[in-house]
């Protein structure tokens, strides 16, 4: 019998037929089998008293959608405003106010779905999740239980031997739906009252639900970092975990290898990668101890305490999860046009995996450099601007200067910024200035080691490289006469070493290079120095 009475009806037959378009232009690179195989290979085990235990982890990530206005009202979403100043009559649940969805929030969730190669449901619907709490003025949260906007997708986490991830692994994502955030409660401002700020109430969230495909804290951490990177590339969430833009509910269960899945617990609202990993570690250990002591795991909601790194039960009432979902009668089903989906697809940027492959294959970067440069969208953007400027300044193709630019950005610039307590986004050295510096090295005007010194001065003063090189007389000496003169001095000062070298102690060559460079205040062209030394010592 159809269950229309309860409103849990399936989408219309015709709508079902068009539901689940695979986004064109996005080849599914993931091979579904990988997850299974890699799953068996995970080495992470809890060593209990009676046996070894596997951990099974699923994450529900709440990501705040980047938008100006809230999901169903036009109140602002900006962080840090005075309490209750960004609350509309809709968000305060005044009687008679009707929700109208924000197109941008829907668009961003769809783009996110496309970025994880997911099925986009052209027919979806909003449901009410009913519960009473002081931070929820409506008495229900508008969410999507039965017909989410985004269906099955996946993302890939990269092999990381050190972290115990032996090979690349595909993590399934079951769904993404959009829903309203709740308000914020403050319990420490008054002895007998709690204060309620509804500024967050009604802000759009994406709930991104993974499959229980992760088997170690490291994998969960890698998944979260990768998801965050994708969201930030897409621009659908700023990924700022400190401000609560991204938080995770962590589902953990344990089992003896090969056994059925154990009972899981859900640790709510964990707000950093490190805490997610700590919560899993603690919760898995706790479950093993309970089971080995003859107890059993209760399916429950738990809280993570960052201070102690432990989880504790929320002691919820047993009917706390009886949400009595039903379709929101204030909202018609959400039907998306092909044109809307086309725009979502066309506006997607190159995503981290594709960029990484391109950096390796087209630019010839090492896997390590490609991974570092693509991990954060800001780094990748900076690198691409640097690459353009470097190529332009040397009149070369980007691929010909890519290694030079990548090495300089990763070792020299990151190192120098770190030393100065700066980040890439407030770096006084712009990609353009970086390109000029690299052009000086490329043209042999300054040596690589001098360029480090120039860079430090650039960071201190903000001046450009050429001016610093001129001012401080750092130009590289390639004149053979000048270099020969210094070599003669060095040889004259070290006759014993010259004799030893000529007697077969080849290792001393480095000593002569060092002495000559020192005599030239580091400005000798290393290639010329090497050649001349070989001639004179030989």
């Amino acid at each position: 019998m159809r269950t229309l009475v309860h409103g849990y009806a399936a989408p219309p037959v015709a709508a079902q037929a068009i539901t689940g378009v695979t986004p064109r232009g996005f080849t599914r690179l993931a091979w579904p089998g990988i997850a299974l195989i890699a799953g068996c290979m995970s080495t992470y085990r809890i060593h209990g008293a009676t046996s070894e235990w596997e951990v099974v982890i699923g994450l529900e990530v709440h990501a705040q959608v980047t938008s100006n206005a809230k999901l169903f009202s036009s109140a602002s979403t900006a962080f840090g405003a005075e309490p209750n100043t960004q609350v509309s009559l809709i968000d305060a649940a005044m009687p008679g106010m009707l929700p109208v969805p924000n197109r941008e929030c829907i668009r961003q969730a769809v783009r996110t779905g496309m970025a994880i190669d997911a099925q986009i449901n052209r027919w979806s619907r909003f449901d009410r999740k009913n519960y009473f709490y002081a931070d929820l003025p409506q008495g229900y949260q508008i969410s999507q239980l039965y017909h989410p906007l985004v269906g099955e997708g996946s993302l890939m986490i990269e092999a990381d031997e050190k972290a115990g991830i032996p090979e690349d692994k595909v993590i399934g994502i079951e769904r993404i739906h959009v829903e309203q955030d709740a308000g914020k409660l403050m319990h420490d401002q008054h002895p007998t009252m709690s204060y309620v700020d509804l500024n967050r109430s009604g802000v759009a969230l994406m709930e991104i639900v993974s499959r229980p495909d992760m088997t170690s804290p490291a994998e969960a951490g890698a998944y979260l970092r990768k998801l965050r990177a994708i969201l930030r590339y897409v621009g659908s969430c700023d990924g700022n975990m400190e401000e609560g833009s991204m938080r995770a509910d962590v589902n953990v269960s344990v089992r003896r290898p090969g056994e059925e899945l154990g009972t899981r617990t859900e640790t709510k609202n964990v707000n950093s990668v490190r805490f997610v990993m700590a919560a899993i570690e603690h919760e898995a250990r706790r479950q093993v101890d309970v089971i080995e002591d003859g107890g059993s795991i209760v399916q429950e909601t738990r809280l993570f305490d960052p201070g102690t790194g432990t989880t504790r039960s929320m002691r919820s009432k047993e009917d706390a999860h009886d949400y009595r979902y039903f379709p929101d009668p204030d909202l018609l089903p959400l039907e998306l046009e092909e044109e809307f989906l086309d725009e979502c697809r066309a506006s997607l940027p190159e995503l981290p995996d594709a960029k990484r492959r391109r950096y390796e294959q087209d630019l010839g970067l090492s896997p390590y450099n490609a991974a570092v440069l693509t991990a954060e969208v800001e780094t990748a953007r900076w690198f691409e601007r640097l690459l353009g400027e470097t190529a332009k300044a040397q009149d070369k193709q980007p691929a010909d200067v890519a290694k030079q630019a990548a090495n300089w950005l990763i070792s020299d610039l990151f190192g120098a910024l770190n030393k100065a307590g700066l980040e890439l986004d407030n770096s006084p050295v712009t990609p353009e200035k970086g390109g000029e510096l690299l052009a000086l090295v490329g043209a042999g005007t300054i040596s690589g080691s001098i360029s480090k010194q120039v860079l430090e001065t650039m960071i201190e003063t903000g001046d450009n490289a050429a001016a610093i090189v001129d001012r401080e007389g750092l130009k590289q000496e390639s004149d053979t006469g000048a270099i020969e003169a210094k070599i003669d001095e060095v040889m004259a000062a070290n006759p014993d070493k010259v004799a030893e070298y000529r007697g077969g102690k080849d290792k001393l060559f480095g000593f002569f290079v060092g002495q000559t460079m020192k005599a030239m205040q580091g400005k000798g062209n290393p290639q010329v120095v090497n050649e001349l030394l070989k001639q004179k010592l030989g």
Partner: protein, 100 residues
């Protein structure tokens, strides 16, 4: 479909509605009458018929992502929002302490 006394008591408690024993006595048969009445709809064969979501053909409209687009749906109305609150302090709603 029918509901028993225990179910009705639970629904009432989930909805934060206080019900005395006497009220439950009258509510249980009343709800069952309503459920029986609605259940008659199940006699109609609707196989292959799309569920109706609106009485006139219309689709869900979306709003543009514009901040404070109009006074009814925008923010900046704290006084209005707090006007009916039984207690408000320092711009917050103040409620009896709730803490897990």
């Amino acid at each position: 479909m029918s509901v028993d006394r225990k179910t009705v008591a639970k629904i009432a408690s989930l909805a934060r509605i206080s019900m005395s024993e006497e009220e439950l006595d009258t509510m249980v048969p009343e709800l069952n009458n309503i459920l029986n009445w609605v259940e008659q709809l199940g006699e109609v064969d609707v196989s292959g018929v799309e569920p109706m979501t609106a009485v006139i053909p219309q689709r869900l409209r979306l709003r543009e992502d514009e901040m404070n687009a109009d006074p009814l749906t925008g923010g900046g109305v704290r006084d209005k929002v707090l006007a009916n609150a039984p207690a408000a302090e320092h711009g917050f709603f103040a409620v009896p302490k709730v803490i897990e």
